[in-house]
């Protein structure tokens, strides 16, 4: 799994088991309400969310999210998050 969307997120794959992969997402959000959308998308793509931490630091929200799911679904989640974070950045200007 490879992320290419820039600085607003990083992705770390942990392990593979039964066609599922667990990943840890590190996201930087301007609007903390995006967490709601990320949870919804994770569910919609058939993945499971197993941890969610959110901290406010320097007026930005730093989210750490563990997600488990099939690689294909995680790839789609990646694509959707790229869009969300781009718009989040633009809306905050």
């Amino acid at each position: 799994m490879r992320w290419s969307a820039g600085q607003a997120k990083t992705w770390k794959a942990k392990r593979s088991r039964l066609d599922c992969t667990s990943v840890t997402l590190a996201l930087v959000l301007h609007d903390w309400r995006l967490v709601e959308r990320i949870v919804g998308l994770t569910n919609r793509l058939g993945c499971a969310l197993t941890r969610l931490d959110l901290h406010l630091r320097d007026r930005l929200y730093h989210a750490t999210i563990d997600v488990t799911g099939p690689p294909d679904a995680l790839r789609r989640l990646d694509a959707q998050l790229t869009r969300l974070l781009n718009d989040d950045k633009e809306m905050s200007r």
Binding site: S4, D31, G40, A79, Q80, R83, D87, E90, M91
Partner: protein, 574 residues
């Protein structure tokens, strides 16, 4: 120096809309948004009162699709706001720039299940690019500016701004028209390495096919796409949203691609060794089974949205950037090639892969919908804007449309929202009062938008409605016939009302035809008049859309007529 408190949130919203170039908004008032409507009463922005909020969001989408500018709709809190959602999701699916402004209950009441309260920002989150609630009037300008910026792009889409009533009423400084404005510019271009690889793949290809989608319309890249096709003599096809990007009479244009696309287009893509996918997103109605789609081809995919790459179809080369810039760079590099490839031989072969559109032969004396639409597109003005609703008539129209401009054929493609055709035509007509605007609708979708006849009448919009009435929910009926062993569940509309009487009830001119011999004269009367008109075509109910690639199947499974038999003769109630 302006008085620090000589304006209100409502006035500020309208002044910002004006400054963003908005000249018309579509909406419906209600309790929470009354302060904004009160300010609107004194403002130069034109408000179009639709008869349902859903029509307001569809009309804003129609305006935006026809012009490329941001369409604006507004509604009150609760049901008003939720009624906008379908139109917003339609804009989201087809990347159409729309800004929706909704009233909200006063901030102290939010979260108390107040009258007409809905958490619309959450509801709209999955139907828009962004939805925000502005709780402080001092944040209103920043939020609205951002909404327009995000709606415009780089990939356009809808944004919802929810404003509580107390924020609409709050005093604030007068809008300063000379304030610095952030401007969104989408001029990203792909990297040199990717461009070089794409050119090399084109140079080595033997059977390339280009597919153009709605992204070319958004990027104003139509001319460059046509230049690319001409330079390489490249066979090309279009998604339904890309219709009009290709020159309709270019001999290398293979017609629409996909489930109901032209045979030559689907077979050519199936045979291709290179697919150039330009501003399209490999919708399932285009690909059928993705693992079988163009399986002999490598794919070069150009799009402004990186999230589209590898979403459905594996891509060899991804060209991320504004499509106009991408095509400009491709054209330049291809033009400089010492041995530039030309694909005229393959283009002729591709064109020969398919024949004319297959069509059912309706029984003697019955009016054929495809015959009506063939006749319509033969006489419609070149610059006419055609909108459709959703269903069989939409596919028949898309197959036959000869749009010379990508903003001349407007349809709810991704969402497939019935009720779209008439309000979208209203939006397009308001943008272009002098042009011929025709809504082609079926009897199902038309009945979802009937109240808008009042809007058409009130504003004297010369929208023409071509009603293809087969007294069925035709597309669902067709699938029931083909895939559900003819169990026609809930698709019979044989007790439709008298549409001509209804139109006349709204004081609109209307005419009904039942016979093929009446088509030509009726269409002439219909198109010549500079006034709204309804032409009600009472068509045979069992005519199907062909070809059809069944869902999840491949071009090899395409159906061109009913399996093993002729058109059934259904009993049609008098």
């Amino acid at each position: 120096m302006p008085d620090p408190a000589d304006s209100t949130g409502s006035q500020l919203i309208l002044d910002i809309l004006s400054d963003e170039g908005v000249d018309v908004v579509f909406g419906y008032p209600g309790g929470a948004i009354m302060p904004l409507y009160d300010a609107l009463h004194r403002h130069s922005i034109r408000h179009i009162l639709t008869r349902h909020e859903q029509a307001a969001s569809f009309a804003a989408g129609g305006y935006a699709r026809a012009t490329g500018r941001v369409g604006v709709c507004m509604a009150t809190s609760g049901p008003g706001a939720t009624n906008l959602i379908t139109g917003l999701l339609d804009a989201q699916m087809d990347s159409v720039p729309v800004v929706a402004i909704t009233g909200q209950v006063r901030t102290p009441l939010m979260g108390t299940d107040a009258f007409q309260e809905a958490d619309v920002t959450s509801i709209a989150a999955a139907a828009t690019k962004r939805s925000v609630c502005v709780r402080d009037v001092t944040d209103l300008e920043r939020a609205l500016r951002a909404a327009f910026r995000v709606a415009r792009g780089p990939r356009p889409g809808p944004v919802l701004v929810d404003v509580p009533q107390d924020v609409l009423k709050a005093a604030c400084p007068r809008f300063n028209a000379f304030a610095a404005r952030p401007i969104a510019v989408a001029n990203e271009r792909p990297g040199d390495a990717a461009l070089s690889e794409a050119v090399e793949l084109i140079r080595r290809a033997e059977r390339p096919v280009a597919i153009v989608g709605g992204g070319a319309r958004s990027a104003n890249a139509t001319q460059m796409f046509r230049e690319l096709c001409a330079l390489l003599e490249l066979p090309h096809t279009a998604t339904i949203n890309g219709l009009g990007c290709a020159a309709p009479h270019d001999p290398r244009f293979l017609g629409m691609l996909g489930m109901h696309g032209w045979k030559a287009a689907n077979l050519a893509v199936n045979s291709a060794d290179l697919v150039l996918a330009l501003g399209m997103r490999f919708d399932d109605r285009v690909t059928g089974r993705p693992d079988k789609f163009a399986r002999n081809a490598v794919v070069v995919h150009a799009d402004i949205d990186a999230s589209e790459f590898n979403k459905v179809i594996p891509v060899r080369v991804a060209l991320r950037g504004d499509l106009r810039h991408t095509l400009a760079h491709l054209l330049q590099r291809l033009a400089e090639l010492e041995h530039r490839p030309r694909f005229s031989g393959w283009a002729a072969q591709a064109k020969a892969l398919g024949g004319p559109l297959p069509a059912d032969r309706t029984p003697q004396g019955e009016l054929s919908a495809t015959e009506v639409l063939d006749a319509f597109f033969a006489v419609a003005p070149d610059d006419a804007i055609v909108t459709t609703d959703v269903g069989q008539h939409q596919m028949w129209a898309a197959q036959r449309a000869r749009a010379s401009h990508p903003r001349n054929f407007l349809t709810s493609a991704g969402l497939g929202a019935m009720g779209f055709g008439v309000p979208a035509a209203m939006g397009a007509q308001l943008a272009f009062p002098e042009r011929t605007v025709v809504a082609i609708v079926g009897d199902g979708g038309f009945q979802m938008s009937l109240p808008e006849l009042a809007t058409i009448k009130r504003y004297a919009l010369p929208v023409k409605i071509l009603l293809v009435d087969n007294r069925r929910l035709g597309m669902v009926r067709q699938w029931q016939e083909l895939f559900y062993e003819r169990r026609y569940s809930a698709t019979d509309l044989s007790d439709n009302p008298d549409f001509v009487t209804i139109a006349r009830g709204y004081d609109l001119r209307a005419e009904r035809i039942d016979d093929a011999g009446e088509i030509r004269d009726a269409l002439e009367r219909f198109l010549v008049a500079r006034e709204p008109r309804l032409l009600h075509c009472a068509c045979f109910p069992a005519e199907n859309v062909w070809p059809l690639i069944p869902p999840g199947a491949t071009v090899a499974d395409a159906m061109e007529c009913r399996p093993g038999e002729n058109l059934e003769s259904e009993a049609i109630p008098a």
